[in-house]
Symmetry: C2
Subunit: 393 residues, 2 copies
């Protein structure tokens, strides 16, 4: 079979292969997931909204729709951008996407030519990096500290690499580290990028899952030059199975995205857009998000408390104020991928952190998820993992 | 904004711009649509299946799922391929796509390099052609007669153009002509393409909407070399708003498609897959398809009867045995695009046929849709269009 040359550049997600390794092991307490807690899906309310919607708007919901998205959904998103993110948006700034992954893929297709360079946080979300791979680009990782991306290093990287075309960042409770950027760091970042002819893709699936600390405005809300492409999603605040997400960007960017999307899949699923609008009209999404925040905070706090108690002192970890992940750093000589075999033997799983570095990275890091495990599993699992860590740390 | 170079190659659908022109005119009987009749959507059954599914499988339906698709849906499709299309498929041959448009886009990304040539029927479905445009390819159109693609011309084209990489064909009730290929022509076609190192994309959204004549097997069912990529869809047999479609192809092709899809959107909408499986388990999809066939036959027959009565003798048209479209050929001196203004003034709309030719084509053709208009609209509208045609033909 003669596939196109670009197929050589596309890599499978290294996470999914680890997940297969984990799935093959029985009776494992898994901190390896990246999923919301399904017990939180508001099934009763969704059932009511869906039935009503099929009765009242069925012919519309099951029919073809517009490439840009269902108008009332776009209106809801404009409102959401204004009220929740302080982004001054109108309908011309919005296009629906099949998950934020499609937003990433549209940006990659729209902006990247062979030889371009993409800058990402070190570490970063694998899916964002993989979305760029088919276009023959290379990557530069810029380190982050507790405040966010190192803007001095970024300035240096941009000055030295005129081929940088796009920056991919996750300023809120990043997958995999759970870190959120401070307000000052966001301002510094915008100041730096405004000096260069680059596009910033701001991926914000976790921003509304802040369970501690104060709201910090998005990069897009500080964007005076139309350089930031903001990606929002219902996956973590309602349900990922709906695949409802959106781009909020300059109208020119939205128009190009619409052109690509027409050729890629004509439009997003119309049914779930009408369904989600009905749910938002009849029920209180904000109250539901508050519930998510409460439960995730409880789980995160419990996990940190257990780690404080059970992990060796040579092991450090982030203390997230939101999101779904904790990032663990082991002593430098420990290979987290090798250790995973021991962990699986003892009945616990995690994701080794190395694949999250665009150009490879240290082997002594771990991504821990706290949303899909029960409190009981957290207690038992962290105790087991602590014992495993003590054998090598 | 510095977009990628490939953005210069992407064109908006010429149909959508005509549709905007039509939408701007009030009180028009429109034969310009390409939509199924929404009155046929089985709303009561879908509501029952959806409610039950949310209650019983809600946590699964609203959660992330697999890139390849929901396993029970894949099983249903394997069964469908075997029973309806005589294609000997297994789960390894199937991947779900967001409409067949995504199937087309995946094939384009997977197979096409700059300089490659795509062969399509003359005329062909615009969306298929547009899906290939971003990759710097050129097109060759091969004419069709009442039996299907001219295989002698095809053989010549393939012999003379070693850069042909992909053929895009719609052998059943093609959009825009409504033509279906004969069994003999399909055999001849397979014999020709088997001599060359090419991929065939067989797009079959309308095959199950056969309301006259005998079933004719798909190209994929005659494929002995794994060269045919078959695209199936629920858009015309259930509801397009669900965006449920699939690729049935060689496992190697499915694997590559899965790799791209992971970067493009992670997975199709999980909710509607679980929903559609529930509907198929609790209700009779085949009986529903029979209903669609009956109504579309009635509308098609009525339209042809009215055309026989009202159109000038110099105008010819196809007599489809299925699908959603009739193709009308006007005398050579008539420009259907110019005539559309007159038609709109008199209150009827159609799609001029020229944009369906990959490299431009004759200006005297028209695509007529018979599925979204009522019988009353068909009677009135064809009378009006006949009168308009009489002024120029």
């Amino acid at each position: 079979m003669r596939f196109s040359k670009r197929m050589d550049m596309i890599k499978p997600s290294a996470i999914r292969s680890v997940q297969k390794r984990i799935a093959a092991t029985e009776n494992v307490i898994s901190f390896a997931a990246g999923l919301p807690d399904p017990a939180l899906f508001p099934l009763d309310d969704l059932e009511k909204a869906t039935s009503k919607m099929i009765r009242e708007k069925g012919e519309l919901a099951f029919q073809y729709g517009l490439t840009k998205g269902y108008d009332p959904m776009i209106d809801k998103l404009v409102e959401r951008m204004r009220n929740k993110e302080k982004i001054d948006a109108s309908a011309a700034n919005i296009i629906l996407t099949t998950g934020s992954q499609q937003g990433l893929a549209l940006c990659a297709m729209m902006f990247l030519d062979e030889g371009d360079v993409v800058v990402a946080e070190n570490p970063s979300y694998l899916g964002g990096i993989n979305a760029c791979r088919p276009y023959g680009v290379s990557f530069i990782g810029v380190d982050t500290d507790d405040e966010g991306m190192d803007t001095k290093e970024l300035d240096k990287v941009l000055a030295e690499n005129p081929s940088v075309k796009m920056l991919y960042v996750i300023p809120n409770f990043q997958n995999p580290t759970g870190k959120a950027w401070s307000l000052q760091r966001r301002k510094d970042f915008m100041e730096v990028i405004n000096k260069y002819d680059v596009i910033v893709v701001e991926d914000n699936p976790y921003g509304e899952i802040r369970f501690k600390g104060d709201f910090v405005p998005s990069l897009k809300s500080m964007d005076t030059q139309g350089k930031v492409v903001y990606l929002g999603s219902f996956s973590k605040i309602l349900a990922p199975g709906l695949r409802i997400a959106w781009i909020c960007a300059d109208p020119e960017v939205v128009k190009e995205a619409e052109l690509i999307k027409e050729g890629w899949d004509l439009q997003c699923n119309q049914f779930v857009q009408v369904q989600a609008v009905q749910y938002m009209e009849d029920f209180d999404l904000e109250a539901h998000i508050a519930e998510i925040q409460q439960l995730y905070m409880k789980k995160c706090d419990l996990m940190l408390e257990m780690m404080d108690k059970e992990f060796p002192e040579s092991v450090t970890y982030t203390r997230p104020e939101g999101g779904m992940f904790i990032w663990v750093v082991l002593p430098e000589n420990v290979d987290a991928d090798v250790l995973l075999d021991t962990a699986l033997e003892h009945g616990v799983a995690y994701i080794p952190g190395e694949p999250f570095f665009a150009n490879g990275g240290p082997k002594n890091t771990i991504r821990m998820n706290f949303t899909t495990v029960s409190e009981d599993q957290i207690k038992k699992g962290i105790k087991i993992l602590g014992d495993v860590l003590k054998t090598v740390c």
